[in-house]
């Protein structure tokens, strides 16, 4: 039996035991996202513009993540709206950073993995990198937006400014650790590589792969930090409108 299939089946069982119906729904969202991500790769490889593919699928993935993970419309609605606003900001920030840093494609450390491959494939690697950064960050944005919207929905009108602020701090603190360690895991083999080949510090901070990866972490962190006040703003504005009516 295929090991990945076996791992997925065990996860399904575990999520059902721990999470019941909601666990199943979470697993289903995950499976949908996996299929969507494979579809993204296929579309990019068949010559569609990676940035446009990423934006369209980003919207779909955001919608499926947010609407499948919470059943309350008063939470999912504002979470989705603020995620969309952040995604727009993010596209701008990513375009600017990636243009200035030129970290797309592969570095000299990748040469072994590239052996026997033709790298002149006619698909723009800078565009793929933008797609990678955008889609890689969406999960974190969706999570933060849901957490804020759900928290504010729970306390509703009794929410004090300090209470909301406190909640925002906790959500950002949480996301920081998740993102930081998540990328750190991927970093570890590269760090060991740098250390064993005795790369000087000046070379590390200009290294294509290192800078590229670190910029991705930082962009995700920025996105999450901005998501919190943005969601707060969307929920408050929505409440204010409701009250007027």
């Amino acid at each position: 039996m295929n090991a990945i299939l076996a791992l997925a089946l065990v996860l399904l069982v575990m999520m059902f035991i721990v999470g019941g119906k909601q666990g199943l729904s979470n697993f289903f969202a995950l499976a949908v996202n996996a299929l969507l991500m494979i579809l993204v790769v296929i579309l990019m490889a068949s010559g569609f513009n990676p940035i446009i593919v990423a934006i369209i699928f980003g919207l779909i993935i955001l919608a499926s993540t947010i609407f499948l993970s919470t059943s309350q419309l008063s939470v999912a609605g504002p979470a989705f709206v603020s995620s969309l606003l952040i995604m727009t900001l993010l596209v701008g920030l990513i375009l600017l950073t990636m243009t200035l840093s030129q970290t797309a494609g592969f570095g000299p450390e990748d040469s072994e993995a590239l052996e026997g491959f033709s790298v002149y494939i006619g698909v723009s690697f800078p565009h793929i990198l933008i797609a990678t950064t955008l889609l890689g960050t969406l999960g974190a944005i969706a999570e933060a937006a849901i957490a804020v919207a759900a928290g504010m929905d729970e306390i509703k009108d009794q929410a004090s400014a300090t209470g909301i602020k406190q909640m925002g701090h906790e959500i950002i603190g949480t996301a920081l650790n998740t993102l930081f360690f998540g990328f750190f895991g991927g970093f570890s083999s590269l760090f060991i590589w740098f250390a064993s080949l005795r790369y000087p510090f000046s070379q590390v901070i200009n290294n294509k792969i290192f800078v590229g990866e670190l910029l991705q972490v930082l962009i995700s962190v920025i996105a999450v930090i901005l998501t919190v006040p943005m969601t707060t703003w969307v929920v408050t504005t929505r409440h204010a409108h409701r009250r007027k009516e």
């Binding site: 996202n33 033709s118 790298v119 002149y120 999960g139």
Partner: protein
Amino acid sequence: MKYLGKWLIPFVAAIAVFIGMQFDSGFYTKPVGQVEAVKVVKTTNHQDEDQNHDRLIKQQVRVRLLNTAKRGKRITMHNTYSFSGALDNELRVGEQVFLDVDKGAYTLNNVKRDAILAALLVLTFGLIFLVMGRRAWLTSISILLNTVIFFVAVEWEIGSKQWQAWWLFVILAVIFTVLTAVFIVGFKPIAATISLGTLLATAAAVALGYGIMALTNYNGIHFEEVKYATQTPQLLFFGQIVIGSLGAVLDEASDISVAIFQLHDTAKERFRAGMAIGRNVMGPLISVLFMIFIADTFMESVLWIRNNNSIAQTVIWVMGLGFAQSLISAFGIVLAVPVTSGIAAMMAKIKKVTA
């Protein structure tokens, strides 16, 4: 307006740092130059064995040297880049680059990226301080400490034997966990609950993942695709999972423990409350890690498919490791819910008895 002005500060600071670092070439021993003018001299169409059409563009670049004895001198060199840009870059006016020099002839070595990196670091930490206020110090210090420990550990690890490297990952995981937990909640018994829950859940997840993969004979798992493997790729694979999922599991465990410790019910009710909280956070946390791990495989996947590999083959070989990594991390995130709820319920009970 005042409110918006506050948000501009980190951005302005980032731009200032970016501009300031255009003048740091004196710190480098390698020749640094600034591109002053570019001119396309030749464009050729390139077609590879798999009928991929690409364009190769040769540009003539005028560079002004910014450091070394030849400072201020202008040189001309050629740079060839492709439309796809896998291993090459288009040079633009204003950009700074490192140069190789051989018998007076200069060639492009690397793009200078320190300024944009520093600018984004300033922007990120500026925003953290703006949004989080005093708590930002704690978070920043905890991240910084973890980074330093990681670097020291990696330095020390070089040249050690394989089993030592594995223990290094384990010890690192324990230090990271305890340190971060103490930073989140302070030096209290609850930090012990969070650490214990995190470590037990992660250990169980890795053991379970290892067991399942061994039982299926690693069918469909291609460790040879682990990137930058200077050691046994299998070891790096599990090490990456342990470190990579730690943050998510830690956050989940702390959410659960903090909520349970405030309750004054029986252990059973506390356990139930913990499960309810965990159930809500586990889905989004798994999807955060999942997106990071899978999006990371995009570049290579497209390269594979374009090099005439089938989609099935690409998904299995390139994306397979990302999938396996996210699934085993997900084990940890799911297992942390009952494990932490159980420990927190027990600890809260003990505390009550002794109090």
